[in-house]
Symmetry: C2
Subunit: 189 residues, 2 copies
Amino acid sequence: MTITDTQNNTADNGVNVDALLGAREMLSGAREAAQFTFTAANEWVNGTHSRSTVNEFFGLGDNQAHRQPYSVDTDHPGIFASEDNGPTPPEMVLMGLAGCLTAGVASVAQNRGIQLRSVKSTVEGALDVAGILGIDADVRNGFGGIRVRFEIDADATRDEIEAVIAQSQKRSAVFDAVANPTGIVVELG
Amino acid sequence: MTITDTQNNTADNGVNVDALLGAREMLSGAREAAQFTFTAANEWVNGTHSRSTVNEFFGLGDNQAHRQPYSVDTDHPGIFASEDNGPTPPEMVLMGLAGCLTAGVASVAQNRGIQLRSVKSTVEGALDVAGILGIDADVRNGFGGIRVRFEIDADATRDEIEAVIAQSQKRSAVFDAVANPTGIVVELG
């Protein structure tokens, strides 16, 4: 393939890059509108099983909403004597990381005129449960490390695809949320 | 209420504490078995829409599996010209945090003989999209901060409930994953 093949404007990955570039332009001059707040509401069901729902959020200076509420049940697995009614909470983080990087890959590829045919990835998180079970205070509760492996079929060279992945990582909200510390306040209402 | 009311053994929050204490005892003497690997597999659908699935994982020295695969679709919202086919990836992190802390609240309360009647929480994450849109390099991509608010109805004093929340936070995998840095390697297979 040639540069002409890979950097034309006919690639269609289903991402509206013009709208994103327009949003960047608009928000550059209206920084208050760039302040978003996402909210998840959780309700305990039983045992380690609970249900989280996202619906409304704040952004562009106003209340916004998904076109419908989205709920996900989380639970612990059977090997910890739970009922396994959904993904474990740490798996939710891995799925969020995968979804974030993949959305970025599609967006960056679109912006670069690269047609994607398939994008698959696996996200592996190593977790020593000696932390959360209180066996060893020197073991952290979270992941010891995370490895993401992409398999991408696209009209582009391997170098171009690697550059797309790198740019996605550079702009990923969830990558940053996991790679770098975030202040969390937990309180009883 | 009295200490006798709140610290008896008749509380039933649906958590098998004996099994968890047994797991702690067993894994204290078999630290290799405490090494878990969780895996999410993601497949791009179109645009910013992708589907993540969890099914098999590794732990207790062997391959394990959920009793069924669990999939979650993630997407970007309509205000960013996407189709809004699911939670946004950052919202997945908030839902994971909520599910993790709530499972911990139920487990710790059970261990302390505290009967829960209801546990609700909201998890708010502030996100300045000037980061992910590349408007301002000084703005991080991830959350500027996260606030978790619990509303808990239980057979316990406010101090006891606050202590349960604090202990859940202290042992939460997702709290640690978000509050503290995690090494992430991203590669093309």
